[in-house]
Amino acid sequence: MVTTFHYLLLGAALFTIGVIGVLTRRNIMIILMSIELMMNAVNINLIAFSNRLQQVTGQVFAIFVITVAAAEAAVGLGIVIAMFKNKETMNINEIDLMKW
């Protein structure tokens, strides 16, 4: 029997994978994908809670999150293209014009 708890575990695992991906990977595309993974972990959480509480609020919230994630991805890819035109690299370590 799959309970709410299992879904929350799945959400937590996905979220952790996303965070580790953002922190350790060096390719901008993979970092973007990891951020999407974090957002989707949140969606799983929201829908699991929504199902447990038998109300739609969580699902509505999840739809908003999906919408915003789409907008964010569009802007993010735009920024990647703008950057790639000036400097052909996808490696975050080579984006070091300004000192940390």
């Binding site: 974090m38 972990a41 949140v42 907008a71 950057m83 300004m98």
Partner: protein
């Protein structure tokens, strides 16, 4: 629950609706006009009309759309800050964008959309509304930071700001999802009630609190989540740096007040120690890192980090004085900081970037008025009377003493002393060194207007703060 939508709800968001309408109009109008500076003037008109609508709503206190959006003195005070910051940022952009040759209509539209998002953030008393407002602001700002498309530093700043901003939004959202699960509601009051029924050491509430605070600390650039700030501030167009350092920061603090003082207020004994540690680190690291900088934009970025540390004291104190100090400090900071950035914008000429401390050498001999204005803004940032910055710091530190956080107050005062050192590096450069070049400052009506408004308020609040303190107190006294 009452009927979800009533006509008076629509009245509650007229300032925001008006900004959106002007933003859309600007996007279309951009295709029709050649003289792009006119678009900036239209944007200014839009902000002014929005301010007029906001003025008509003053004194109201009700929650619209079935209790997801509050229109109280608190949100109106913050919305005033956003509109002032947006107007002054547009005013300093008019000439600056010409010099950078990036004068496009989208720039002004994005500023209006970003301001609209902030206004929803300040009014949000519901997680969904808060999140949408936050992202509307953030996405518009990501684009603005990268607006100098052919400039590699601007690309880089925008990339870093976007990656860390989206990452922090993800963390913030995870906390929000847990809060929803705990309370079965996205309204702040319901969340507070659900949390107060749980024990203080409940692991899920603690996890929610920690992820939520981490996301918030990212947004206000508190240590250890501050690394994006210097890069984003340095690479962004200077007018946008000014906008981000006052408006985006004020919006993030407005959101923080709502979350920490309403939604997770029952967990206060748990978050006060975390916040005290973050506040001390933010002040100290921000000020110490600022000492070594040779780029003025980067130095002011670190200075803005340390200011976030001071403001956190208001949350730690949590009494009436402390909470009054948060909006008051942000209000003062808006004028002081925008003034300082306006001087830096004026230093940007055709071939001179004007960001290094050396570029300011001998400014007093080339352009005395500009140097004296910068001196007053820096004194205010350092918190020296009779400037406005002193009043803000005085309130924050007094709140810490009143609530028995004496060690925190001592550290804060020591930090204010450190900050005088690096602010005066700029002053020494302006007044005591030989001018290395002859060119003066850029003159433009928008810049002059911004400098005039900023200096008037910096000095006025410094000598006669009572009405502004009363406004700030009025803003927090009802809601929190």
């Amino acid at each position: 629950m009452a009927q979800f939508f009533q006509m008076q709800d629509l009245g509650a968001i007229t300032p925001e609706l008006e900004l959106v309408a002007f933003g859309m109009f600007l996007l279309i109008f951009d295709l029709m006009v050649q003289e792009k500076r006119r678009l900036g003037l239209i944007a200014l008109a839009g902000i002014a009309i929005s301010g007029f609508f906001l003025f008509r709503l003053r004194g109201t206190d009700f929650s619209a759309y079935g209790g997801v959006l509050a229109l109280d003195p608190f949100s109106i005070f913050f919305k005033t800050i956003f509109l002032v910051a947006a107007a002054l940022s547009v005013a300093i952009s008019l000439k600056y964008l010409d010099i950078e040759r990036e004068n496009h209509g989208e720039y002004y539209a994005l500023i209006l959309f970003s301001t609209m998002g902030m206004m929803f953030m300040a009014g949000a008393v519901d997680l969904v509304t808060l999140y949408i407002g936050l992202e509307t602001m953030a996405i518009a700002t990501y684009v603005l930071v990268g607006f100098l498309r052919s400039n590699q530093r601007s690309n880089e700043a925008s990339m870093k700001y976007f990656l860390l901003g989206a990452f922090s939004s993800g963390i913030l959202l995870y906390g929000m999802s847990l809060l929803y699960g705990l309370s079965g509601s996205t309204r702040f009051v319901d969340i507070a009630e659900a949390l107060s029924r749980r024990p203080l050491t409940d692991p899920i509430s603690l996890l929610a609190m920690i992820t939520l605070s981490a996301g918030m600390f990212f947004k206000v650039a508190a240590v250890p989540f501050h690394q994006w700030t210097p890069d984003a501030y340095e690479g962004a167009p200077t007018s946008i740096t000014a906008f981000m350092s006052v408006a985006v920061k004020a919006a993030s603090f407005a959101m923080m007040v709502r979350i920490f003082m309403v939604a997770i207020y029952p967990l206060r004994p748990q978050w006060v120690p975390i916040m005290a540690a973050v506040s001390v680190m933010t002040m100290t690291i921000g000020n110490i890192a600022a000492i070594t900088q040779s780029n003025v934009k980067r130095m002011l970025a670190y200075s803005s980090i340390s200011h976030a540390g001071y403001i956190l004291i208001g949350f730690i104190a949590g009494n009436e004085t402390g909470l009054t100090a948060v909006p008051l400090y942000l209000f003062i900071y808006t004028f002081t900081n925008l003034g300082a950035w306006a001087v830096i914008v004026a230093l940007r000429r055709k071939d001179v970037i004007g960001e290094q401390i050396d570029d300011m050498a001998g400014l007093f001999f080339r352009h005395p008025a500009g140097a004296v204005l910068m001196l007053i803004f820096l004194l205010s940032l350092a918190g020296i009377p009779p400037t406005a910055g002193f009043i803000g710091k005085y309130y924050l530190f007094a709140a810490a003493i009143q609530t028995g956080h004496n060690a925190l107050a001592v550290i804060a005062v020591l930090n204010a002393a450190i900050s005088i050192y690096f602010y005066f590096r700029i002053v020494v450069s302006m007044f005591m060194r030989e001018a290395t070049e002859k060119t003066g400052l850029v003159y433009a009506p928008g810049l002059t207007m911004t400098l005039a408004i900023a200096i008037v308020f910096t000095l006025l609040i410094g000598v006669y703060p009572d009405p502004f303190i009363a406004m700030a107190r009025q803003a927090v006294i009802l809601g929190f």
